[in-house]
């Protein structure tokens, strides 16, 4: 049985669990894990105050259960192994992770995979703002890995991302790819306004062409295309059970270049009818 951490006492005050790391709990008994100090508001308390702990992570697996929407920093800086959240997860899920895999069956909050470097996060529900983003004041956001969100996501998806893939199955918020340096953002549903402001390089793709937002005036139309790389991405997403609508593999796309306020080597592709 994998190490199972089950929320027992619900709290509206955030609990920060960055001290619970797969790398360390792997070697620990469930009692030791229970005794680990976590941040509760402005206090430090043991994990056991809020959670029941069973099983062992010797096989590199950890499961969080319950509505952990106020539990922050689950799987942050993960380097290998797998974490499953049965329910919701709080902010900063998988932030700065370098490898391994995190799956969330419910929803997550803001900053999913912020400044991550590698690995994969798959959220089956919705995510908040700023997935794969840079923390405020920083230089670059995610530099590698994948963030797949089957549901909706908020604003500034992939803010200043440098490399990697973000896919959002549902609705996405305003300014996806804000200041992005490079990387790929795939948006399957409706989107908010102002895509790719300040993007230097990278690709943002709107698969729901009919609902795509207006382009900013600093982007230029640059032809119709059928990029082969999209095929590779879509097949990859399908293989991971990400819901990819039919008909995308054959579609053609209107291409826009920008942002010409910056380097202008970025592209936004909007599926043509």
């Amino acid at each position: 049985m994998p190490l199972t951490i089950r929320l027992r006492v619900k709290t509206s005050i955030p609990v920060e669990v960055d001290s619970i790391r797969l790398e360390t709990v792997r070697e620990q008994s469930s009692d030791q894990v229970k005794a680990t100090l976590v941040q509760y508001g402005n206090k430090q308390v043991s994990l056991g105050e809020f959670f029941d702990v069973d099983g062992s992570a010797a096989d590199d697996q950890m499961v969080w259960e319950g509505d952990c929407s106020h539990v922050k920093l689950i799987g942050c800086e993960l380097s290998s192994g797998s974490i499953r959240v049965e329910g919701n997860a709080g902010m900063h899920l998988g932030a700065e992770m370098t490898g391994g895999e995190i799956t969330v069956t419910g929803d997550t909050a803001d900053w999913v995979g912020a400044e991550m470097h590698g690995g994969r996060i798959h959220v089956h529900g919705n995510a908040g703002h700023l997935p794969g983003a840079v923390y405020r004041g920083g230089f670059k956001g995610m530099t590698g890995g994948e963030i797949l969100i089957n549901g909706n996501a908020g604003n500034e998806i992939g803010h200043a991302m440098r490399r990697g893939l973000i896919a959002v199955g549902g609705r996405s918020g305003d300014a996806p790819g804000f200041n992005m340096i490079a990387g790929t953002v795939l948006l399957f549903g409706e989107s908010g306004i102002r895509p790719g402001p300040g993007m230097k390089r990278g690709s943002i793709i709107f698969f729901d062409g009919a609902s795509a937002p207006d382009m900013l005036p600093t982007f230029r139309r640059s032809g119709l295309c059928q990029p082969t790389f999209l095929r590779t991405y879509l097949l990859h997403l399908k293989s991971l059970n990400f819901p990819v609508p039919e008909g995308l593999l054959e579609a053609s796309y209107q291409r826009f270049s920008g942002d010409f306020l910056e380097l202008g080597k970025g592209e936004i592709l909007v599926r043509a009818a």
Partner: protein
Amino acid sequence: MPQLCVKGGTVYDPKNGVDGEVKDIWVENGKVIEAPTDADAKADRTLDATGYVVMPGGVDMHCHIAGPKTNTARKMMPDDKRKARVVRRTEHTRSGTVGAVPSTWATGYLYAGLGYTTAFDAAVPPLAARHTHEELEDTPIIDKGFYVMMGNNHYVMNQIAANESAKLQAYVGWLLGAAKGYAAKLVNPGGVESWKSGKGNTDTLDSVVAGYDKLTPRDIIRGLAGSVDALGLPHSVHVHCNNLGIPGNWRVTLATMEALEGHRGHLTHIQFHSYGGDPNDQSTFCSEVPKLAEYVNSHDNLTVDVGQVVFDKTTSMTGDGPLGYFLHKVTGRKWFSGDTEMEAGCGIVPIEYKNKSLVHTLQWAIGLEWYLLVEDPWRIAMSTDHPNGGSFLAYPEIIALLMDRSRREAVLDRAPAAVRDKCTLSELTREYTFNEIAIITRASPAKILGLEQKGHLGPGADADITIYSRDEDIQKMFEMPRFVIHRGDLVVDDTEVRSNKTGTLFHVAPSFDADVVPDIQDWFEKFYTIQFRNYPIDDEYLQIHETIASS
């Protein structure tokens, strides 16, 4: 007050000709005293330094540790602070963070922990003097002071343009006294003002400063160097030359040395001003240290500090506004620009020096060339221009590089191969001795500053003593002094900072022709945003302070 004896250490005190002798240092009332003639005399307290290396406390003559620019740098880099090492609160000390620009309290502890007991902030616009005094008061342990920026001050430039040398001298004297500063600093003289006026930087010493008919950087340098000498200030004029960081700038640097016309002059972070090549062709970038070092070697009115680059993330923080803009354009990183009314400019940009970059490695090599090519260690001081070239915390690393040629070679081996062809570093076999290290980190900066009581362990000196345990690894040895004594108080005990005391502020109070004050007041009330009477810092405003006399 009880006597303290630091007993049996191997002492390096170059000013008093002590080169690695086993010697006792006696301390009373915060000062070093003559050892008692009676061999059986016992101090009230004895610190057994047998087997340890004993040096005077370190003196950093050029760093940026206080004032609005440091606060701006801290605020504009939450990303750096988030990852920065944390300084935990202890029974004696307060908490803080390290990072590229350490927090105020941490700065004092870190200097003390490194065995440094004196540091001078090198660039304060007089309008920011009050803030700087407040921040320096909160920078614990170390003794301190700051230099006042004058090279782009309108009143200064007006007097020079009008050939009013008496008025200029009086203003320099008044301004230093008003700001409670220590020395006159020139930052890119004339260039900052031209750039602020939208006319671009000045390229040569003979370019005319924007807004003037004939005034040139050369006039400003000559005028201020003359005033500083005429006032008899303890430290010479402190010059940050024009065109910092631009390939081919060595010509301006040489011209600046010549423009001093025999006046005393300190050329700061000279590493950044020793570049050959074509400003429009990065690939021609090379070292011109040998030519400049030869000039310095043969002109004893000149002193330098290096501004060594080390490979790390840091922040460029300068009164040189156009330089900030240049770096922002080169690095694409965020940029702060400040325009301090009639006085100065400011630019702040985060920067990372990488050992895989040809330019950065060459800058690193050029810094080391300076240390190795200036023959007289009494005319060169160690600096990284903290935090511009790197943190002051890198001094032990630089010491190790100077004392061990193989260490330099190891860095060169990992660097882009072209570095060896573009500078002379790999030919330089010189290795520093402990005595020479004691000179460039203590005795010479104190001498250059005209601070008689610092940088040595003779009778009458402030009892600032650093005690190192010997280690095969030189860097390790200098990183963690075992004991540090500041004015007779043990502030670092067994490598732990154990004090939160307030150090002494050094400033000058030169006498000047008071008849000029109404004119200054008149000017002030026309152009400044604050009231004239709110501008000078009163003595009562300062905590512990000491006036260093002019000669």
